[in-house]
């Protein structure tokens, strides 16, 4: 029992949890912006995958991993705009378009991977973004070992949560965003440009999901491999719901899911099947939706195309 407790509160596990949570945090924030504007985004998975590939590719071609970050953000924006174009302009079913983007991303990344790097399912190793040590923070006894030395993208993710919270709740833009997602007709009546807001939100969603993918291919690992997101886009979606469509809530959910992920290998040694830990985020989200942990209710107009009348 003491062993298990020591394992559960191990600083190495907490540090790993933070690392595992990082791609989820980016993607979940992306999900929040999109859903808050009224566009369901189940394409986070595909957007992350495209981001991961682009980051690897740019880093491979230029040797500059930070340029890879920029490339992944741009690629995410392009895919976001594609999602927005079909969902907003052509009023296509948002879940269907999301599914199409996920399939498209899976096909495109492997198509390009095989064209540029041959038959193997993985890319060659590419330059990555190195971890950094934060001077004072790393000296603090217990906490320092968790957050004192991490990847810059980890810190960026945490910063993004705070910024997202401020943007959504403390700015006029955030108010308009929420209005468009809750009651687009009312927002339209008072002069908010519904289409423009939704385009911006979904593009931002793509950019953030792209960043999440970036972390996977050029920070956590140093290569892209086929389907490397492995459902993380959907875990991020689960985190959005679990966190009740708020940045801080989603952060909590992502940290918890990341913690479960970090524990997975270690718990296997004490007899807990890894698959059970893999299932956890999805089971908990269903439980949360069913109202057992306080009712989780999304933006009202989420999923419905707006028809200007």
């Amino acid at each position: 029992m003491g062993e298990v407790l020591a394992l559960l509160f191990n600083t190495a596990v907490f540090a790993a949890a933070l690392r595992m949570a990082t791609p989820l945090i980016f993607a979940a924030l992306g999900g929040i912006f999109s859903e808050r504007s009224g566009v369901v985004n189940i394409a986070l998975e595909g957007m992350m995958l495209i981001g991961a590939f682009t980051a690897m590719f740019v880093s491979h071609q230029t040797g500059l991993p930070w340029l890879g970050v920029v490339g992944a953000v741009l690629a995410g924006i392009v895919i976001g705009l594609l999602h927005a174009f079909f969902c907003i302009h052509y009023r296509a079913n948002q879940v269907v378009v999301g599914t199409a983007i996920n399939i498209f991303a899976g096909g495109l990344t492997v198509f390009l991977l095989r064209y540029y790097f041959g038959a193997a399912g993985t890319s060659p190793s590419v330059p990555t973004i190195p971890d950094i040590t934060i001077p004072v923070l790393s000296q603090i006894p217990w906490i320092g070992r968790i957050i004192g030395r991490q990847n810059p993208l980890v810190y960026l993710a945490l910063l993004a949560v705070v910024v997202a919270h401020l943007v959504v709740y403390r700015t006029p833009w955030g108010l308009r965003l929420r209005a468009v997602g809750e009651h687009p007709r009312a927002a339209d009546t008072v002069g908010v440009h519904v289409f423009r807001m939704r385009y911006l939100a979904v593009a931002l969603s793509g950019a953030l999901a792209g960043l999440g993918g970036t972390y996977l291919s050029i920070a956590h690992l140093s290569r892209f491999s086929e389907g490397m997101t492995a459902g993380r886009g959907f875990i991020a979606l689960a985190a959005v719901i679990f966190g009740k469509w708020t940045p801080y809530g989603a952060l909590g959910a992502c940290l918890f899911f990341g913690y479960a992920d970090a524990l997975q290998m270690r718990l296997q040694d004490v007899g807990v099947p890894t698959q059970f830990m893999n299932m956890l985020p999805y089971v908990l989200t269903m439980v949360a939706l069913a109202g057992f942990i306080g009712k989780s209710v999304g933006p009202k107009a989420s999923g419905e195309p707006y028809i200007k009348g």
Partner: protein
Amino acid sequence: MLSRAKAIRWQEIVTPLAAVVLALIIGSGFILFVGENPLTAYRILFVESFGSIRNLATTLQRATPLMFTGLAVAFAYRAGLFNIGAEGQVYMGAFAAAWVGFTFTGLPRFIHLPLAILAGMAGGAIWGSIPGYLKAKLGIHEVINAIMLNFIALYLTDWLATGPFHGGSWVPETARISPSAALTRLYPPTRLSGGIFLALAAAVVAYFILWKTRQGYELRAVGLNPQAAEYGGINVAKNTVIAMAVAGAIAGLAGTEQILGLHNRFIVRFSADLGFMGIAVALLGKNHPVGVLFAAILFGALQTGSAAMDRLTSVPRELITIIQALIIFFVAAEYLIRRILRMREEA
């Protein structure tokens, strides 16, 4: 001058066809990108999938599971439900069928095979009815729960097939099913199985239920307008659960066919998006059983031909995944297609 009914039917066929043509045109851009001739690549794709009886049999074999998953999505769609959970239902059905297949030995074939098929249907039906029940009882949108259940099914069957029911070899799969539970191979050496007849039967049954029974009338009424249906005395909650259970059973048959007709054991992660491709098939088939069958054959053909295209040209076989995704985009955005077609008529 076409009658109104005929004009509508014409459009039902023309928009999916236009979506396929558009997807192939954009796909040719990808072929040019890798420095190959689109006509050559598409010719190989066509010849390899339809050029001989053997190729046609392979195409049908690839199409069989997609017929089931396409029907599973279309059936739920008719009741106003989006069954994005077919993937999970495939896994649960497949495992249930496999379990009956390798657990019971010594049964005569005419008992064992139907039993395995029924188990597969039950596995899918149970998994499908969960989001249906949660929607009916608690009003939770079926899409989110179905997505979550997809992953739960994936990991649950992963655990079952590598843990309690591991086949003993180092590969992540169960023991082989008894031959008495296997579907017949119709045209060896191709792997086309008797499952194709099951798929055709499922299409006929789905059509019959939806358009020839009172139950189907209720399902479609709920799909068209749940408020009006409820007002008209139809139990919307009950029909929601029924629709998802039937859809789940059909998706379960896709998994069943893959196990009893193709793999003869449960292999972890064998499905590889059969359920999601079912969404594409249903959309392309306009959520009609007949349309679904044709759409599944098209997708089966693309998959069959892609292997040869990959071998004979430098076009990676993932081109067809891209084309399939593009088809979904265009079918989903019907307005876009209509606008393009109208523009051509005016020109």
